[in-house]
């Protein structure tokens, strides 16, 4: 899995160098260029007034500045997010202008070595019965602009606006995505079209994210991860979108879905709305935090597959998290035993596992993973490292594949059902 961010977070279009440096310094594997910074949706909304010859020159200059900055650093970003129309667009005569700029930007950045171009469908102010024809032509037009055989156009799910209310739009339903990819790739004669899941748009569309991601399976090339308030198309830092003090994004569905489709593609972190609210001097710190956040999400996605990389597994902890592990994974991965620092528990059996003295961990079979099933991760990790234990992993029960009702209540010192 590659962890990416977007230039929308910290990069100024006219002077991209510092932003690129900050992205790299924050530890991201790579990034995508958000080309809507060249042709902003608000400019497109009033293109006949705002797209002056001067503005057009600025756009060309900004793209050239980015290409120079990339070339100087020997960097080829992973993808470009092509410009798009805002759902607030009130006119329908933008399609030609937008297509012209998308093709120009595609040409320029393909020339710089970029091979993936994410293109939102054209849906704003287009009649429902014309959507298919308009978008088929649009996507094939973009493909026609490509010079390289391995350049891919990525479709992305979009929202539709009804009186200011964002609802499901094109490419929200998995069946439609799969059918379009089959159709476009057949027309192209080769796999030239792929898919990028916009998690923010799924949140606005209130979909069952688990089902949606699972249904799309291998079709998912990239996941564009951004949070919002459930009402507007913003890119808030993950875990910070909230309603009534609770998360807006369906994180359980998201993690379950990405696990089930065994996602191993590009994870694009986009917190541009959040970061731009902060003073520019703090942007590099936010970028580092965003990278940490991405690491946590990657760890959650890969949690299940990591269980299978070891020949053996032992657990550390004989409490709720151990119970959660056994209820969720006990039938697939049988740990050898568990252990606990509570001496009174040694020799007992918990969830079918013998509870042992942690000292036994000094003498484990080769390629055994030790999963800490306790929220005091850092303390226990330090303890295990001191003992010379290898293959230390953290287990977590925040996003289990299923739930159960039996939890130990320390106040009652018994199972509550």
């Amino acid at each position: 899995m590659n962890i990416l961010t977007t230039t929308a977070t910290v990069t100024r279009p006219e002077r991209p160098s510092q932003g690129i440096n900050d992205i790299k310094a924050a530890g991201f594997d790579d990034f995508i260029i958000d080309a809507s910074m060249y042709l902003e949706p608000r400019v497109l909304m009033r293109w006949n007034k705002l797209l002056t010859p001067e503005k057009e020159q600025w756009i060309a200059d900004d793209i050239a500045a980015m290409k120079t900055a990339l070339s100087e650093r020997g960097i080829v970003p992973r993808a470009v997010l092509l410009p798009y129309a805002s759902t607030e667009m009130m006119r329908s005569d933008y399609v030609e202008v937008l297509t012209k700029y998308c093709k120009m930007i595609l040409r320029e950045f393909e020339d710089a070595g970029i091979r993936n171009f994410i293109a939102r469908p054209l849906t704003v102010n287009i009649e429902t019965n014309e959507l298919d024809e308009v978008n088929k032509a649009y996507y094939m037009d973009l493909l026609g602009e490509c010079k390289c055989e391995d350049t891919k156009i990525l479709l992305v799910n979009a929202c539709r606006c009804v009186g200011g209310h964002l609802i499901r739009g094109m490419f929200t339903e998995p069946e439609q995505v799969i059918s379009w990819l089959d159709m476009l790739n057949e027309k192209a004669g080769k796999k030239r079209f792929g898919f990028c899941c916009d998690i923010g748009a799924y949140t606005l569309a209130a979909v069952n994210m688990q089902d949606t991601l699972k249904a799309m399976g291998e079709c998912v090339d990239m996941v564009w991860l951004r949070d919002n308030d459930g009402k507007s198309d913003k890119s808030i830092m993950m875990f910070f979108g909230q309603q009534g003090g609770e998360y807006t994004t369906d994180l359980l569905g998201l993690i379950r879905g990405l696990r089930e489709c065994e996602f191993d593609g590009d994870l694009i972190m986009d917190a541009s709305t959040s970061i731009h609210l902060c003073p520019a001097m703090l942007w590099p710190q936010y970028m580092k935090f965003e990278r940490e956040m991405a690491g946590y999400i990657q760890w959650q996605i890969e949690l299940e597959t990591s269980l299978y990389k070891y020949d053996h597994i032992v657990l550390f902890g004989a409490g709720n998290m151990c119970r959660a592990f056994m209820k969720a994974y006990g039938d697939r991965v049988q740990p050898l035993f568990t252990c606990d620092n509570n001496q009174a528990s040694w020799g007992t059996v918990f969830e079918g596992l013998e509870v042992m003295n942690p000292e036994v961990l000094r003498d484990l079979p080769e390629n055994t993973g030790v999963y800490i099933c306790n929220m005091y991760y850092t303390q226990i990790e330090a303890q295990l490292k001191e003992m010379g234990v290898a293959n230390i992993e953290f287990f977590n029960d925040e996003y289990l594949p299923t739930y159960h009702e039996q939890r130990i209540d320390r106040n009652k010192k018994a199972i509550t059902e």
Partner: protein
């Protein structure tokens, strides 16, 4: 002749069904959506507090609802559809409660439906996808419940109607059971084929659909003739407000936040024959009692507009 219905909760009181149904008829309504669920509310169930209402014998229940049945006959206001109490399954409850809901409450609800000469009963699917780990696993549990009741449906000529509902992840609402029209269509066809009768259909709830961003036109078109009854109401796209259509907007252009045009186009295409039913009891609480009739008339007029668009 118009076929416009309204939720009975608040509009029709148990003590005076004849008077209240006559009043609704005067306004123009020709049918009601009987709120059987008000006799065992979701709040009570989630608090695992079961009232004794469904402990009454069948005869006692028939006697209890006899005035309503007679009033419906006398006034000609049909009990076109009704709503089974919900939820039908509480995961955190003891098995005794869930057994009671299946074997006592739901069976008696079917019998009440038959007694009242009502052909459609709306039943909520189980909200278990997060608990069991998948929507398919959730449907299997709902299917078991429906198949338990299907023999009653077949015998009485009743069509059970599953409804698109939502779940809350904290305060954010996302799609819940029966929000995938293609899956719903397949499952309805499968169950009807199994029982050799139209035991299962669909109730499209516009308010719930609006909350989870469903494309009304696409959804209703996909359902086609499987769509049997409606729950028509409006909201702001954030909370389940059960208000009058065309109430909410978010832009200066004042276009509604709900795609009523798409909804009506689809109803026309699928040649929907059922009642235009408004699940709008909360409207009767929003308006002061003095304006209750005005509210009901407005609901009726909107129903007439809808009918004009689709029939």
């Amino acid at each position: 002749m118009s076929f416009i219905s309204v939720q009975s909760d608040i509009a029709v009181c148990h003590e005076n069904p004849r008077g209240d149904l006559l009043h609704l008829k005067e306004i123009g309504f020709s049918a009601i959506d009987f709120s059987l669920h008000s006799y065992l509310t979701n709040k009570q169930l989630y608090n695992k507090d079961v009232t004794t209402f469904f402990d009454k014998s069948e005869e006692e229940l028939y006697e209890y609802f006899r005035p309503l049945k007679e009033a419906s006959k006398e006034t000609g206001v049909e009990i076109f559809q009704m709503h089974m109490p919900y939820p039908n399954y509480v995961p955190s409850a003891k098995e005794e409660l869930n057994t009671y809901l299946r074997e006592v409450m739901s069976v008696k609800a079917m019998k009440i439906c038959h007694y009242l000469d009502c052909k459609y009963i709306v039943i909520h699917g189980f909200k278990l996808s997060r608990y069991l780990g998948s929507e398919d696993a959730e449907w299997e549990k709902t299917k078991e419940f429906l198949e338990y009741l299907a023999p009653y449906a077949k015998e009485y000529g009743i069509t059970m109607c599953i409804e698109n509902i939502y779940i809350s992840t904290g305060f954010h609402i996302i799609e819940g059971p029966c929000c995938n029209a293609k899956k719903a269509a397949r499952r309805i066809d499968s169950m009807n084929e199994k029982f050799g009768a139209e035991v299962l259909g669909f109730c499209f709830d516009t308010g719930h659909a609006n909350l989870v961003g469903i494309d009304f036109e696409d959804f209703v078109s996909t359902l086609g003739g499987r769509l049997k009854v409606l729950h028509v109401h409006d909201n702001d796209g954030v909370a389940d407000l059960h208000q009058v259509p065309f109430t909410f907007t978010r832009t200066r252009e004042n276009k509604p936040v709900t795609d009523w045009d798409g909804f009506l186009r689809a109803l026309k295409v699928v040649e929907y024959k059922g009642a235009i039913n408004f699940e709008t009891a909360p409207v009767l609480k929003s308006f002061p009692p003095e304006l209750r009739d005005t509210a009901l008339r407005t609901i009726y007029e909107i129903g007439c507009y809808f009918e004009g668009q689709i029939r």
